[in-house]
Amino acid sequence: MTNDSLISIHDLKVYFRSNSEHARAVDGVSFEVRREETICLVGESGCGKTVSALSILGLIPTPPGEIAGGQILFADQNLLELNEADMQKIRGNHIAMVFQEPLTSLNPVFTIGDQIGEAISIHKKLEAEAVRENCIQLLTDVGISSPAQRLKDYPHQLSGGQRQRVMIAMALACDPDLIIADEPTTALDVTVQAQILQLFRSIQKIRSMSVLYITHDLGVVANIADRVYVMYAGIITEHGNTAQIFHDARHPYTQGLLASLPSRSKRGTRLHSIPGAVPNPAHKPGGCPFHPRCPYAIPTCSKEYPQMCDYGQGHLARCPVLFEGGG
């Protein structure tokens, strides 16, 4: 752990129990976010990326969820040990979240002004007029035109992109150290997505915040991330800076994902595809969870849990087979 680390997660385990099933959604995940950087958690649905993010904010419903182990260190305290009142002081104030679907995360019966104002007044004691001015400033910062009028609007009066900008304004309300963005552009059009990504880049720079960006879209990752953690079936399979991941991927899963991206330059050729499907978190294969889909799998892969292999300069991949084979 380096000195400029803002938040670090150690060996986090989050399990979900239902009737007879026992899903190890997050199974020993470690990562850190440093100050003023954007990191991406990449993975497919069910790989545990959202669950990891929700556990940072203490938003895992228990039961059925259960934090089975690990530490989340933020400002010298373990967030997993805080009570609800202390957690409330961190949530929104120091760590804020932007969700995927802005229409369902905004309350339809309150105006935009009410909702951003609420985020401010929970954490700060301010006069109503000051709150209003604050809201206008925030909406201006996230690029919403005529913000004073927009304050009186209800969510349904805004477009998808504007709603997501409002969500970001709410997250920025208390000037947090870390913003967790969970697939914030997945529900948006490509042109709007490009605008929102640019907004994230600029606010991250201006406010010197850290951003933990969760996505399954490798195009987004290449455009926004400083460092990347690739997740598969509840574990981190590879970690590196953006260039290491995209130009020198060392885990078969990352390699497969990159090779399977369609693009104009691959016209006429057959796309590489990873066989099989993402495993159900309740019935994960033993050993390396990727082994049934892996082209390099050897018999030990189904028995032994793979260790992280160090490729130097912070580049780690959880695949001993490729590591011993000389990469």
Binding site: E44, S45, G143, S145, S159, G160, G161, Q162, D189, V190, T191, V192, Q193, A194, Q195, L197, Q198, H216, D217, L218, G219, V220, V221, A222, N223, A225, T242, A243, I245, F246, H247, G256, L257, L258, S260, L261, P262, S263, R264, K266, R267, R270, L271, H272, S273, I274, P275, A277, V278, R293
Partner: protein
């Protein structure tokens, strides 16, 4: 099924297709305005080829699909399918043609009946159209499942037992069950996991090669469209803004809207962070269009003339047309 079909034969031609929806307001539900969901769209799909229809949500792509399937009645325009104008057909006239045009929807979780086994879902089309008897239907079912890469014993299982990618395979098998010549794919991969998307794209391509299918591929993902389609039509607020063969469109985009769409493509290439031609956010009432070019208000090269005149197509290349008069000036 494996009949050889002639090349360069136009399987579907759509001519000045229009569909307006009324907006009703007030106590008496008076018509307060019209949404021009599809406003004079024309295109042709060649046999065995893939036509890509791209645009942002709400631009009318899916309405075009529904009009071709006759799930909606067009207000104006012609839909020439294999030589006959189906836009005038009644439900009864349409029935024998139904099997020729099939659709694969975006969401494989919402488009399979959870109470029907996979086998029943796939067979339903054959049963309704009275194609084939009981025993030969069973054989056909097995063949279809194999064709889309599923094991034949999945026929007796229910949709919830399958993953998203498998369900989309089932939906494709269902569409192919009646041996169509045109398949409309309405965002068929956008609800799927990244590692599964390539499988489905490959499957669609293999089936096209094997069966000579024609596709109308509706998508907002320009990477996929650029990979898969022969011709691309760019749609904005109910109108085609530009159309060209795929490579030509990417190499030489002429409409300012196409340029901004292309610049919003995220290249999975770090260090090459895209220089986006960011569009002004659309602040107008996006549904109701006024006189002149539909792209007014967001266009970086707009001039007063754009708000006055109807803009017609300019020809840029042999098969490349652009709805922007400024192109001719360049």
């Amino acid at each position: 099924m494996e009949s050889v079909r002639r090349q360069n034969h136009i399987i579907l031609g759509v001519q000045s297709l229009k569909k307006y929806f009324s907006i009703r307001r007030g106590f008496f539900q008076r018509v307060a305005g019209w949404v021009k969901a599809v406003d004079g769209v024309s295109f042709e799909i060649e046999q065995g080829k893939t036509l890509g229809l791209v645009g942002e949500s709400g631009c009318g792509k899916t309405t075009v699909a529904r009009l071709i399937l006759k799930l909606l009645e067009p207000d104006e325009g012609k839909i020439i399918f294999q030589g006959s104008d189906i836009s005038e057909f009644t439900e009864k006239d349409m029935k024998p043609h139904r099997k020729e045009i099939q659709i694969v929807f975006q969401d494989p979780f919402g488009s399979l009946n959870p109470r029907m086994t996979i086998g029943l879902s796939i067979e339903e089309g054959l049963r309704i159209l009275g194609i084939k008897s009981g025993r030969s239907r069973k054989e056909r079912l097995e063949k279809l499942l194999k064709m889309v890469g599923m094991s034949p014993d999945s026929a007796d299982r229910y949709p919830h037992e399958f993953s998203g990618g498998q369900r989309q395979r089932i939906c494709i098998a269902r569409a192919l069950s009646v041996d169509p010549s045109l398949v409309i794919c309405d965002e068929p991969i956008s609800a799927l996991d990244v590692s599964i998307q390539a499988q489905i794209i490959n499957l669609l391509k293999d089936l096209q090669d094997r069966l000579g299918l024609s596709y109308l591929f509706i998508s907002h993902d320009l990477n996929v469209v650029g990979y898969l389609c022969n011709t691309i039509y760019v749609m904005y607020k109910g109108q085609i803004m530009e159309s060209a063969p795929a490579e030509e469109l990417f190499e030489n985009p002429c409409h300012p809207y196409t340029m901004s769409l292309l610049s919003a493509i995220l290249d999975p290439e770090p260090g090459k962070r895209q220089k986006m031609k960011l569009l002004e956010p659309d602040l107008s009432d996006s549904l109701i269009t006024s006189a002149g070019c539909n792209f007014q208000g967001r266009c970086p090269i707009e001039e007063p003339r754009c708000r006055k005149e109807e803009i017609s197509f300019e020809k840029v290349g042999e098969k490349h047309i652009v709805r922007c008069w400024k192109v001719a000036e360049k």
